[in-house]
């Protein structure tokens, strides 16, 4: 039924419109309660669904956060264990080295002390005293001069002077010898001082290491206890490691790209320049494979050296096997680097050949001109071809850090996204309630006349108007929860 036919129910369209409007208002008024219930049911259902989804996402976020925390603590624990282990190894090495030197040290000290003791004993010896003439002189002095006491005294005097002179000589000689002995002690004293200084230095170094171990053990203890501070430190460290390792990896990727450029052209000589695998040239794929093999060898070398720990199987190998693996991977890398140097040289040769052909085809005489400094670029290319594979070995270190930190960073990003989604769902869920109320009000807007009449009638009859539809218990629960 069209609008024109509806307006034709009376001869006057305006009257028809008024009648239709009145009928519509009456119909809406009669259906008001049911319509409000329907609006509330829809908005309640939507709001409840959204809130439920928000709770689910929030729970997921909590689980992810817990998992991320576990991962972070586990990684931190492992890293600390490694650091502490290394510190212990260093202390062990230091102690072993010092203990190995200890017998020599002890012997040197003992010998020095024995020598000093001997010299000391020798230095203690004093020269014999002058003979005891005093008693004899006293007796003779009491004798009578007639009995020749004077001559005797003179003889004694002379003898005394002589004895004194001899005693003085002996004393001087003995003193000289003692001084010589004391002088001889000086190097021994110095040696003892130096030895003890060395011992002191070693002990101090061990003490410093012990302090570092104490600090690491404290941090390790915090991690094991799962303290928030430890998690916070680990989290920020992880982010820093992630960005730093990503930066270093991008530099390494640039290096690999240069390496690729160096060997892709000459590879065409080996595998053909026009064969394709999928949409990629076989020569390009071959060059890429060589670079990937080099990086893999670098990884294995780093694993064998126990610098990185990406493959537990390699770390668990016996030392003998690891040494063999180290040797094999190094030899392969050396061969690869040599091949690359050769390919880099070949590249230059091919480039010259191509330039010569192009010049010939263009018909200019540039082909005959040879740059005398060409050897510099050739040598540089060869050098780069040889060095880059070894430089790429060190990619293993940032790669390991990147992989470990990536897990945490992805977890953090996931947590952030889930938190945002949960919030948005919650906001929409709450918004649904208000939308429901708004829809009810909008429904009532054209019904203002019957509603006003209803209010007036209710007032006249002293009866309260129809109460508002009570909210569903579910809403009340959710409000209480929020």
């Amino acid at each position: 039924m069209s609008m024109t036919s509806l307006l034709a129910i009376t001869p006057w369209p305006a009257v028809s419109a008024v009648i239709l409007l009145a009928l519509l208002v009456v119909a809406l008024y009669l259906a008001r309660r049911t319509a409000h219930q329907a609006i509330r049911a829809v908005t309640d259902a939507l709001g409840r669904g959204l809130r439920l989804a928000s709770h689910a996402v929030a729970r997921g976020e909590e689980r992810l956060a817990a998992r991320n925390r576990e991962v972070l603590l586990s990684a931190g624990r492992e890293a600390k264990e490694r650091i502490v282990e290394r510190e212990f190894v260093r202390v062990g090495d230091s102690v072993r080295k010092d203990l190995a030197n200890y017998p020599t040290l002890h012997r040197a000290l003992s010998e020095s002390i024995v020598r000093i003791e001997e010299d000391q004993e020798k230095a203690v010896e004093v020269p014999p005293e002058a003979p005891g003439w005093v008693q004899a002189v006293k007796v003779i002095a009491n004798l009578d001069a007639k009995n020749g006491g004077t001559e005797i005294l003179e003889d004694i005097h002379k003898s005394m002077i002589r004895a004194h002179s001899e005693a003085m000589d002996d004393y001087r000689k003995a003193s000289g010898e003692r001084h010589a002995l004391l002088r001889k002690m000086m190097p021994d004293w110095r040696q003892i001082q130096e030895t003890l200084g060395r011992v002191n230095k070693n002990v101090e170094s061990v003490l410093e290491r012990a302090l570092a171990i104490d600090r690491h053990m404290q941090e390790y203890d915090d991690i094991v206890k799962g303290e928030d501070r430890a998690v916070s430190i680990l989290s920020s460290s992880s982010l820093v490691y992630f960005f730093v390792s990503a930066l270093v990896l991008s530099v390494a990727a640039a290096g690999a790209a240069i390496n690729f450029t160096l060997i892709a052209r000459p590879m065409a000589e080996m595998v053909g320049g026009t064969s394709f695998i999928g949409n990629f040239r076989t020569a390009d794929i071959a060059a890429l494979v060589i670079i990937m093999v080099e990086i893999s060898m670098g990884l294995f070398l780093m694993e064998s050296l126990r610098i990185t720990r990406l493959f537990p199987v390699i770390s668990a190998l016996s030392d003998k096997m690891r040494r063999r693996m180290m040797f094999v991977t190094f030899v392969i890398l050396l061969l690869m680097a040599s091949i690359e140097a050769g390919l880099a040289y070949m590249r230059e040769v091919l480039l010259q050949d191509e330039l010569a052909t192009s010049a010939l085809l263009r018909g200019d005489g540039v082909a005959g001109t040879v740059n005398e400094h060409l050897w510099i670029t050739t040598a540089a290319q060869m050098g780069m071809g040889f060095i880059l594979p070894f430089a790429l070995v060190f990619v293993a270190i940032p790669l390991e850090t990147f992989i470990h930190s990536l897990r945490t960073v992805l977890g953090l990003i996931g947590i952030g996204i889930m938190r945002a989604v949960s919030l948005i769902l919650r906001v929409f869920g709450n918004g649904m309630r208000h939308i429901g109320t708004l829809a009810e009000r909008l429904y009532d807007l054209p019904l203002f006349v019957p509603l006003w009449i209803e209010t007036r009638v209710a007032a006249n009859q002293n009866q309260p108007p129809l109460p508002e539809e009570p909210r569903s218990p579910a809403w009340q629960e959710q409000e209480a929860q929020s």
């Binding site: 052209r265 053909g272 320049g273 999928g278 040769v349 050949d353 010569a356 192009s358 085809l361």
Partner: protein, 218 residues
């Protein structure tokens, strides 16, 4: 879906992808180029310009591409008319050597070229089609360095449909004849007739008259 079924399905998909990849490997990506040089009558004086085209083509061709240069004379449907032909090696260095050798052969021909009394373009085209079909390159292109005025000797039948499906035919340096100057419609109708002939055979026809601008070539 059981685990075995899942594995089987994955394996089947893997096989399909591998086969698809292998299929792509076998698709030829090289180019086959055949240049016909008109040596008849007065056009023989233009032959030196053809060398420029050959050198440009040589510089653009890649390893594994095929290239042949043949002359158009009284009877062009013969291998004897092929001046130089080569399928360049897969290795770039060998391909460069081949290009140099090719260029020297062409140079020798240019120096020794003698004018022919008749012009058998269709015979040359048939020879080109045969050559390129045999080589089966990914992209087939025939260059005709001629005024496109066919002049057959008595007894030569050339009213043969050309199978040019997948071919690009390029007419180069189509000079105007004295009669064209009197009635340019002759020149246009000549080109139109060749275009119709080529397109009827399933090929694509175009004209490049400015040989200093051969960027569109290959």
């Amino acid at each position: 879906m059981s685990r075995t079924t899942r594995y089987r399905r994955t394996a089947a998909w893997g096989l399909v992808l591998m086969l698809a990849a292998c299929g792509q490997v076998n698709v030829p990506r090289n180019t086959g180029l055949y240049l016909l040089i008109d040596t008849s009558g007065t056009y023989n004086r233009q032959v030196s310009k053809a060398e420029q085209i050959i050198l440009v083509a040589l510089s653009k061709l890649q390893p594994s591409d095929s290239f042949a240069v043949a002359r158009i004379d009284t009877a062009s449907f013969t291998e004897k008319n092929i001046i130089a032909k080569a399928t360049f090696d897969d290795r770039p260095s060998t391909a460069n050597q081949q290009k140099r050798a090719f260029a020297s052969r062409v140079e020798k021909f240019i120096d020794e070229s003698a004018p022919a009394p008749f012009t058998d373009i269709t015979g040359g085209l048939l020879q080109a089609i045969e050559f390129l079909k045999e080589k089966n390159p990914g992209h087939k292109e025939i260059l005709i360095f001629s005024d496109m005025k066919e002049d057959l000797a008595k007894g030569y039948v050339r009213n043969i449909p050309l199978d040019l499906k997948g071919f690009d035919v390029v007419a180069l340096n189509v000079t105007k004849l004295r009669s064209d100057n009197f009635d340019p419609r002759e020149y246009m109708s000549r080109l139109d007739s060749w275009k119709t002939k080529v397109e009827k055979g399933g090929g694509h026809f175009r004209v490049i008259n400015d040989i200093d601008r051969l960027d569109g070539l290959l």
